[in-house]
Symmetry: C2
Subunit: 432 residues, 2 copies
């Protein structure tokens, strides 16, 4: 039996997990999958992990030593980012090596270049861990839901923000307190921008949309709104109205093109995504024959991400061991266009902090009417709005609209912002 | 490009769905997957479906005409059951044809014979639709969670009973009314035995356990208890106590062997399986590195099941089109033994309808104590039990135990049944 030699570049959290799995389950993979996977080289900026796992004799500080070793069949890139990781991946692919990576940033921004390099090297790249951590989602989309035309993907794909929203909802924490808790637990970075502003989720939905809609969608294509402007007030109102609020990464197929976006979203509590709490992730996928499906699990962490990476390694190793060409899926593109955000039609929840004066409802209602936004419900909350200075009595006007065009909504909001009744920036949450 | 010729045997609900998908998406499969899938033969006892889809020129009443046609690459068996379907599958495999099927009964009872035939014919069999309908679960277990040692599978794998339990829980229906509703909606058969007594779920967990634990588990190995003895009273009590009740198909890896069973189960409401309602299915899988995962979707119906069947067809077709040998997973077995049900250690919910006399608690408590069953809580419900004749005042004693051995529990129950205080058969629900 041919040994499959892998080289791991990047020995951080995920890299350590990959080593642990292979050291623990090598014989299982041999007996059950018929593959003899050997860690033949490792590389990292520091040698502590290699030392811990007894891999100093195959350790190198330079990732290119792994790429350039002719013995290596599969390069496992776990450095991340679009710097040195890009050089490693492109070089490995051009050299005809199979590549397994967890690199969402690279796949979401430079997928075209990566696939071109794979074509040159007549090889393939696998990146299940880039989205949803341990949750099998890229593979199922490519291999098990491929009988369907996918119409919609909605994902909770960022554990940090889902943890924060769960705490805000269940424990009535403020955004700031929820962030502090997440940081204390190690779920949020010291600089939480990529998570709380939705960029991490945007990269992931760009990858999923590219696969599901056979197109090339990049991070820059995704209109993104994070949770940093979300207040506990809106979560409480949503709860009363029978909704949960989740940061969703959405990609729908529409007649006008791919509708892609990341923003806080209100979902009826009966929706399965509302039951996804804490650091868990879930990706909800609708296909024309399969109907609704959902894939749930841990979206981050050493074990889950390493599980996905090793799954890919075995997938490639089995084909190499059978001397088969690696079966790559279509890396072609249908070049589906993107639908601009202002063509979105959805329902909206809005909360206007207003001065408590006569005629407030009327001014808001007139602005919506003038821009074809039809109201489903309007409630003036008896509480004093928390968002404004209390020089004058203020209150919240909470509006839920029927389906309206995003462009119309923005125009109405611009008009309302000019009125004297508004006492602060309105909260806007789109409703599914 | 080589055309892949498929022959479909059995044109019922699923067969019609398969035809619809291929007729609608043929060009997508060609453009994206590089496979030209042709429905080259169909067979069924009746010709109405073939007529409806314009397939009369390739129609036959005899499934063996499909198997014996040398042009056919993939035999799609959708007759079901262990009669003629078995002959078709064994003949097709021995003749070296690839087989795709949705046949849970055959795979759960005669898997060994089927795999032996596949070995003889040097070919393979795929059966994603046999468990969970449209939900990708067999493929992900084999291909994407294979980096893990699986420790636990808990599935809601029968839509009929989940629909009934949802109605009993949300609308406070009796078992009989829930069954009548399910039958009216077409979710339950006129003879609902296979669903309500748990046999359908038992077949499915036998299949999943065989894959997850690399063993041969058959339907007959699965201790099975359905929902027909379940009362609305217990569902209401469970709800008050913060639990949902689901019919779970369970397969755990234990030190004493595979712990496999089907029975109604109480789960804390925060468990993701509690949010799976109506006819939806979900399979919850725990692995040593990936942690908790869950796969959710429609477990039955034409579209979902056909989605899974066509997913398998594409999987095989891609390999055939590339002139590759079909990569079959290990059909070996570790011959893991089964742990007998009486070695189960779990928590129990029990409801005893008793005569309202002094000393009732004491008698029950003594019997449990004598058999090493430790009580977590005991509550006498103020209501008159609905389960007994009202010749004398009766009431419910509701007990929740700590972890106890099934053998001890059964011995305690046998003893309690002899006492004069019990006024009917106690309800027993295992708690996760």
């Amino acid at each position: 039996m041919r040994t499959i030699n892998i080289g791991i570049i990047g020995l951080g959290t995920v890299g350590s997990g990959v080593i642990q799995i292979i050291q623990k389950h090598h014989d299982d993979f041999l007996n059950h999958q018929g593959v003899d996977i050997q860690i033949t080289r490792v590389a990292s900026r520091r040698d502590n992990v290699a030392r811990e796992y007894g891999l100093m004799d195959v350790f190198s500080f330079d990732g290119m030593d792994v790429v350039n070793d002719p013995a290596i069949d599969i390069v496992v890139e776990l450095v991340g980012g679009t710097g040195i990781a890009k050089d490693i991946i492109l070089a490995a692919l051009r050299a005809g090596k199979q590549v397994v990576t967890a690199n969402k940033a690279l796949m979401a921004s430079m997928g075209a270049e990566v696939y071109e390099a794979a074509r040159e090297g007549q090889t393939a790249i696998f990146y299940e861990a880039a989205v949803g951590g341990g949750i099998p989602i890229i593979g199922p989309l490519k291999n098990y839901l491929d009988a369907n035309e996918i119409s919609s993907i909605m994902g909770i794909v960022n554990g940090t923000t889902n943890y924060m929203l769960t705490r805000m909802s269940q424990n009535h924490l403020s955004y700031e307190d929820a962030l502090a808790q997440a940081q204390k637990k190690g779920y949020a970075e010291a600089d939480p921008t990529a998570d709380v502003e939705g960029y991490d989720a945007a990269a992931k939905i760009a990858i999923l949309a590219s696969i599901a809609y056979n197109s090339r969608v990049t991070l820059d294509d995704v209109p993104t709104e994070g949770i940093s402007a979300l207040s506990a007030t809106d979560i409480a109102y949503a709860d009363e109205m029978g909704y949960c609020i989740k940061l969703l990464a959405i990609a729908n197929r529409s007649e006008e093109g791919i509708d892609i976006r990341v923003h806080p979203t209100m979902l009826p509590k009966s929706h399965p995504l509302c039951a996804v709490n804490g650091v868990f992730n879930a990706i909800y996928v609708v296909g024309d024959f399969v109907g609704e499906t959902m894939f749930y699990g841990q979206g981050a962490g050493s074990g889950p991400a390493a599980s996905a990476v090793v799954g890919n390694i075995i997938e490639v190793a089995r084909q190499l061991a059978a001397d088969m060409p690696i079966l790559e899926h279509c890396t072609c593109t249908d070049e589906v266009s993107l639908r601009p955000m202002d063509r979105l039609r959805t329902r909206y929840y809005l909360r206007f902090p207003v001065y408590d004066r006569p005629g407030v409802f009327a001014q808001i209602a007139e602005a919506f009417a003038a821009h074809n936004v039809s109201l489903y419900s309007v409630v003036q909350r008896g509480t004093v709005s928390s968002d404004v200075d209390e020089q004058e009595n203020t209150t919240d006007v909470v509006v839920v609209t029927h389906h309206a065009l995003e462009a119309d909504m923005q125009a109405a909001l611009a008009e309302i912002a000019q009125t004297e009744t508004t006492a602060g920036v309105p909260a806007l949450i789109r409703v599914v």
